[in-house]
């Protein structure tokens, strides 16, 4: 059992956003976890990116789903009621294009029974393609987003950060200063894949986010590095597929972990990792 502020996690495993739907499937798996993060929710509905949205890379996955979701109002009305009986921490991942988007999202979700919000400032697939910038690459913007959310909600806040072209210790510190309760490191890394036969990019939106075992050493580095610089509970994320990977993330300085790509390979991966840990954690 792990307690951070007012929130208790029955074990350190959280299922990562975008890899376990909205929390309304495989409920028997979700209930055994320390928490589950929904797919990213935005203010307005998003149709998502053109297909193909996913391709396999060596020991990993490149994806560009593009935050397909029904929008916060529909999510609140249609999906959340189905999640009331979940016996785990329900964490809603929120994503926007501006600090005011996040503020409105937090406000809309304030009166719900969800346990925490994960502020997603690090999705590489909704980057403004004209300047390749995401909020998570600018610590001033990160500060603004997190403090806007903090003003609107008393809920537990996780800020999910990127390590793409930015020193994550800077954005970690900014989110701590703005009042986050934990940070999650790392979101997917920039990636592109081409089909050598056709000469064309594989993904419909050309670029994507890389995840899976291929990024584990870098994720561990980021956790270890930020843990040495910023005093805040860290949720380690990147390349976890078994119990040893969890232990490595904890050794690097994580308090909790998020399991992502492994769920795509096996929707029961969370259970197997937990079994692998036995009573050791």
């Amino acid at each position: 059992m792990i307690k951070i502020k007012n929130l208790t996690f029955k074990n350190p495993i959280i299922l990562a956003s975008g890899t376990f739907g909205f929390g309304d499937k495989f409920i028997e798996v979700a209930n055994k976890m320390g928490g589950i993060v929904t797919k990213g929710i935005t203010l307005k509905p998003r149709a998502g990116n053109p297909v193909p949205r996913i391709c396999e890379t060596p020991a990993g996955i490149l994806n560009s789903v593009g935050l397909e979701n029904p929008g916060v109002d529909k999510f609140k009305k249609d999906t959340l009621p189905k999640l009331n009986s979940l016996k785990t921490n329900l964490i809603v991942n929120i994503a926007g294009n501006s600090p005011s988007d996040y503020e409105k999202l937090a406000e809309t979700l304030q009166d719900t029974k969800i346990d925490a919000l994960e502020i997603n400032v690090s999705c590489p697939n909704i980057t403004d393609k004209s300047n390749f910038q995401m909020i998570g690459q600018n610590s001033k913007l990160v500060y603004q987003v997190v403090s806007n959310v903090r003003k609107k909600t008393k809920k537990f806040l996780i800020t999910k950060l990127t390590a793409n072209f930015i020193d994550p210790a800077l954005t970690a510190q900014a989110s701590v200063d703005a009042g986050t309760d934990a940070i999650c490191l790392i979101n997917t890394l920039y990636g592109v894949a081409f089909d050598a036969k056709t000469g064309k990019p594989i993904l419909g939106s050309i670029t994507g986010g890389l995840s899976g075992p291929a990024i584990k050493p870098f994720a561990l580095y980021c956790v270890w590095y930020v843990a040495s610089k910023v005093k805040i509970p860290i949720i380690g994320c990147g390349g976890i597929v078994n119990a040893n990977d969890v232990k490595e993330h904890l050794l690097a300085g994580s308090k909790l972990v998020e399991v992502g790509s492994a769920n795509l390979r096996n929707p029961y991966a969370g259970l197997e990792i937990l079994k692998g840990l036995g009573g050791q954690i």
Partner: protein
């Protein structure tokens, strides 16, 4: 849906790069319906990382059959499995094809798209008249013909190189031979995206069920990695809303 450790029962080469594999998978075999697929975890290793979505080509008691073309690392490793090797299967996944009754049914297959149509044909042959239009690159790729001969009234074949049947594409044949049929048939089509698109453009007056292929992540509706455009707007999941779609409802 279940994740079942399944033993390879039989593996057979059907053409230079198409293989058939029977696996002992009692629960999935019992629940499987035509149109559905399984996610095959090729290896315990982290590379290749994802499962391979393969349609269920047939079931027999506690066994199910998959048929696949070697297109990359995953299928290459799969074909090297030996009898009694085990792989994890997740399934049965996806929706099932609506089964026609007392109809003239046209089955239209392009290449390895023939696989799911075999399972379907076994079910439909009891109370429908079946006509198969099957197109492949060459004679060697016209697989499973002996099995279809027992199920179909007539079989029309095409090859791109003319080594067997009519030279050309299966869609040309479909247009020429079957559409002016007296009784409106129902059409099930499985093959490349381009083939489905062509079929929809030439066949307008009858119901067409298309079996889609698409790159997938999870195969079970939790990653939103596969998608097909809806007629109006937005996407449907190929893995959970499909893989069988009424072609009038999607954008091709």
């Amino acid at each position: 849906m279940i994740r079942e450790l399944s033993k390879v029962y039989k593996i057979e080469k059907l053409s230079p790069d198409i293989y058939s594999m029977w696996l002992v998978s009692p629960v999935i075999a019992k629940r499987a319906r035509p149109g559905q697929f399984v996610q095959v975890q090729i290896s315990d290793s982290i590379d290749p990382f994802l499962c391979r979505p393969l349609s269920i080509a047939n079931v027999n008691k506690n066994k199910l059959r998959i048929i696949f073309r070697i297109i990359g690392k995953g299928t290459e490793l799969l074909k090297d499995k030996k009898v009694d090797d085990s792989v994890y299967l997740l399934g049965p996944l996806g929706n099932q094809a609506e089964l026609a009754k007392n109809k003239n049914v046209i089955l239209c297959a392009g290449g390895v798209g023939i696989a799911p149509l075999l399972f379907l044909a076994k079910q439909l042959s009891k109370n429908n008249q079946l006509f198969l239009c099957f197109g492949a690159k060459n004679k060697k790729e016209l697989i499973l013909l002996d099995e279809f001969k027992q199920l179909c009234e007539t079989i029309f074949l095409t090859t791109e190189d003319g080594s067997k049947g009519t030279k050309g594409f299966v869609t040309d044949l479909l247009l020429a031979k079957l559409i002016p049929s007296p009784r409106p048939p129902i059409l099930y089509a499985a093959g490349p995206f381009g083939m489905l698109k062509k079929i929809r453009s030439i066949v307008t007056n009858i119901k067409i069920y298309g079996f889609l292929e698409e790159r997938m992540g999870c195969g079970c509706g939790i990653c939103f990695g596969c998608g097909v455009k809806k007629k109006d707007d937005g996407y449907l999941r190929v893995c959970t809303d499909g893989p069988v779609f009424d072609l009038s409802e999607i954008e091709l």
